[in-house]
């Protein structure tokens, strides 16, 4: 299908909207009526047609506007994109991975023509047609990682692998759930996860690291993570928290369905061929609760998950102060009926909401 790209904003007047299509394909993260941390990894080998899992790097109706938002963030704070000196090769690996994947998966939108090291990259949605020399930094307007991730939705953490650990040594991070690349750059896997409650004690990170260290070229993996965000604000950075934090106080029972968003990260993991680095794209999807509850199964389930979530997690995910109001809203969409297993909307088989 041809994607109709939205002209929308993720700040100030917040004109971001999801179409019917985007709502139905939203990556709902809860496969059952409760949530706890787990090493919920699976192979990233496509998924149902039209789903966000189908392509290697999903492109959707928000593409152009998200890239515009990224450029605004970078103009304000260039430290959101950093690469330690030894990571340039991994940047080229990433550029190749994204260009090859997008041109193969979306041939109507992206083209890559390679003649030895002379590459021509055409990005039709963004109006880019560049010819450059692969592995020659001087032939691109930015470093390779920055160049390609200014054209790819989602954040990118590029992890060096050494000493049986992963090191956050490069990244493009402008749509983050409240973590700072500038602070975390150079840290290992356990260090950058240090502030996460409960999971260390559960051994989650040890198991996750073991899994990630063994990811092979050509066998990417994926998992989902989630939080809640007031307003469709992509840049929920700690850097700007003193500016956006106050938006959490603007929720009222009347505007909550429109303003409160479920924020889901589709995290994928790819081994890179030359550098042996691991790239960790973190793609953010936002959905207003009023849109989410149009899928009866999701409305029922989200109510149960938020209601039963441990205090520490609600606190860490930053919505503890608004949880009671969110529950007042969601309870209207939970009639107590059982829900089908799995994450899919199951619109044809799940019963409509009974009021």
């Amino acid at each position: 299908m041809t994607i109709q790209f939205n002209d929308e904003t993720f700040r100030d007047d917040y004109t971001f909207r999801n179409s019917e299509w985007a709502i139905k394909r939203f990556p709902f993260p809860f496969h059952e009526d409760s949530y706890m941390y787990s090493v919920n990894m699976e192979q990233h080998r496509g998924g149902p047609k039209g789903s966000v899992y189908e392509k290697r790097f999903d492109v959707d109706e928000h593409y152009i506007s998200e890239m515009r938002d990224r450029a605004l963030v970078l103009a304000e704070d260039p430290l959101r994109c950093q690469s330690l000196p030894h990571m340039t090769l991994a940047g080229w690996d990433l550029l190749e991975l994204i260009m090859v994947s997008k041109s193969e998966d979306y041939p109507d939108l992206f083209e890559l023509h390679r003649n030895g090291n002379q590459w021509r990259w055409i990005n039709k949605p963004l109006g880019i047609d560049d010819t450059f020399t692969f592995m020659d930094e001087a032939s691109l307007p930015y470093g390779p990682m920055e160049y390609i991730t200014r054209q790819a939705q989602g954040d990118y953490a590029v992890l060096d692998q050494r000493e049986n650990n992963l090191w956050m040594d490069a990244g493009m991070v402008t749509t983050q759930a409240d973590w700072s690349l500038d602070f975390d750059i150079g840290m290992n896997f356990f260090e950058w996860h240090a502030p996460v409650p409960l999971a260390h004690e559960m051994g989650v990170f040890k198991r996750a690291l073991k899994f990630l260290l063994n990811i092979q070229q050509g066998s990417p993996a994926r998992r989902l993570n989630w939080t809640m965000t007031v307003n469709p604000l992509l840049d929920t950075s700690p850097e700007n928290y003193h500016k956006w934090g106050v938006q959490k106080t603007t929720l009222t029972p009347d505007n909550l369905g429109r303003k409160q968003h479920l924020r889901v990260e589709l995290q994928t993991f790819y081994r890179l061929p030359r550098s042996n680095a691991l790239v960790f794209p973190i793609r953010c999807y936002l959905i207003a609760l009023e849109d989410l509850v149009t899928v009866p199964k999701w409305g029922r389930r989200l109510h149960r998950v938020i209601r039963d979530l441990p205090e520490e997690l609600a606190e860490y995910k930053g919505f503890i102060r608004n949880r009671p109001m969110i529950l007042d809203y969601l309870t209207q969409y939970d009639d107590g009926k059982p829900t089908s297993p799995g994450v899919w909307p199951d619109l044809d088989t799940e019963p409509p909401l009974e009021r």
Binding site: M187, E191, W192, H193, A194, P195, P238, N240, W244
Partner: protein, 201 residues
């Protein structure tokens, strides 16, 4: 009392030990304040290493220890007035280290963290660097908003010395910055700042 047992903490926070003399061709010792006492204990346990010791000491409020250090007989003793005034010298001395050199860092977290960074960047293997915390438990904190670093933070919350925001000290430590993370405490309730309490009290 210059020794302090830090409470169990996060995975990113460094863990400090007790300096022990190790075999080496060179011994580079960097300390501030009460950290000099750790070097004196080291010298007492292994006086023979002092003949190859290059000691860099930033006295802060412990100037009385300078003479004791001199009495321990290091090959070179340099007294620096502050860390920023001394860091160029530290870099230069690190350039001259040879294989098998041992590095000993003692004193405040800020000194240990920053000097550790310099040593690692100079290519000293982590296994050849020892640390011992002594003296002030003050923390070095980077404001995540303006990126300015405030030294010697003793309370939580505190006011960023660069941008003036009220910050709480998040339990998250960057070895690269040798600093904890400071995050605005009243972002969601502007002006509502809880009373400052002394760290670890």
């Amino acid at each position: 009392m210059s020794k302090f047992d830090f409470p169990p903490s996060i995975a990113s926070r460094p863990v400090y030990g007790t300096l022990e003399a190790r075999k080496g061709t060179q011994h580079l010792m960097i300390a501030d304040g009460a950290g000099a006492e750790a070097l004196l204990d080291l010298a007492a346990s292994a006086p023979e290493i002092m003949a190859q010791a290059h000691v860099i000491f930033i006295p802060r409020d412990a100037g009385a220890l300078e003479e004791k250090l001199r009495a321990a007989g290091p090959a070179i003793l340099h007294i620096g007035p502050s860390y920023p005034a001394t860091v160029q010298r530290i870099r230069r001395v690190l350039q001259d280290t040879v294989m098998g050199a041992q590095v000993y860092l003692a004193g405040t977290e800020g000194l240990i963290g920053q000097a550790m960074n310099e040593a690692l960047q100079a290519g000293i293997p982590l296994a050849a660097i020892q640390t011992e915390h002594r003296g002030s438990v003050a923390r070095r904190v980077q404001c995540v908003h303006c990126k300015g670093i405030t030294e010697d933070v003793m309370t939580d919350p505190f006011v960023c010395s660069h941008c003036g925001l009220n910050l709480f000290v998040r339990d998250h430590y960057s070895r690269r910055l040798a600093a904890f993370q400071g995050v605005c405490i009243d972002a969601e309730d502007p002006g509502e700042v809880p009373e400052s309490v002394e760290l670890y009290k």
